[in-house]
């Protein structure tokens, strides 16, 4: 009986190929959109305007509180670095290092969910990996 169930669960090559095709189809749609969204949030015209506004407010606050000019500028540079810390995020993703930034796991989960949705539409069940 066990063997029969296993036989039923085993996918045909055509089904496997269809599953792989759906995965890549979803990836080719979702990944560029996600990357574009992330880049636009920091390196677009609107982002430049918002970050400029925020940096200017930060700098003015520091000057008004009596901070020396050089210190105020350095702190504002560090402040800008917080907005644009994508470099660390993408670099760590590429090298496979673990990190605790929520956004990276959220992006991965989002991609996974989209793939599952597409597969479910096609009636292909995804086997869950046991950790």
């Amino acid at each position: 009986m066990c063997e029969e169930e296993k036989e039923k669960k085993r996918k045909s090559p055509a089904e496997e190929a269809e599953e792989v095709k759906m995965i890549f189809q979803t990836l080719s749609k979702e990944v560029p959109a996600l990357v574009k969204g992330v880049l636009d949030s920091v390196f677009s015209e609107e982002a430049g305007k918002s970050i400029g506004k925020a940096a200017a407010a930060f700098y003015k606050e520091l000057k008004e509180s009596g901070m020396p000019d050089e210190v105020a500028v350095r702190m504002t540079e560090k402040y800008i670095g917080v907005f644009t810390s994508l470099g660390d995020l993408l670099g760590k993703m590429g090298k496979g290092k673990k990190f605790n930034l929520q956004s990276s796991s959220e992006i991965g989960k989002e991609i996974e969910e989209k793939i599952k949705e597409k597969l479910a539409e096609k009636g292909i069940q995804v086997e869950e990996d046991e950790d």
Binding site: A17, A56, G81
Partner: protein, 78 residues
């Protein structure tokens, strides 16, 4: 999986790579506009011109750092 099944995946892989390539190539162009707007906004909000130039250089450094990190992480792939 037979080779004929893998062929159906190729267009999607090509599309993915092309999309990412276009994003990479247009990053510098988009960034130039972002940097101009950033500097203008700083000056408009009372930051001295020299300080605004220095901060926009830092903004550019961040963009260059991102590109370097992405390239070095790609080299790390098997």
């Amino acid at each position: 999986m037979k080779p004929k099944h893998l062929i159906s995946v190729v267009p999607h892989v090509v599309k993915l790579l092309l999309s990412l390539g276009i994003l990479w190539l247009t990053l510098d162009f988009k960034f130039r506009k972002a940097k101009k707007t950033f500097e203008k906004e700083l000056i408009r909000n009372g930051v001295p011109k020299e300080v605004a130039k220095r901060l926009s250089k830092k903004y550019e450094e961040m963009k260059n750092q991102l590109k370097r990190t992405v390239l070095s992480s790609m080299r790390g792939f098997p």
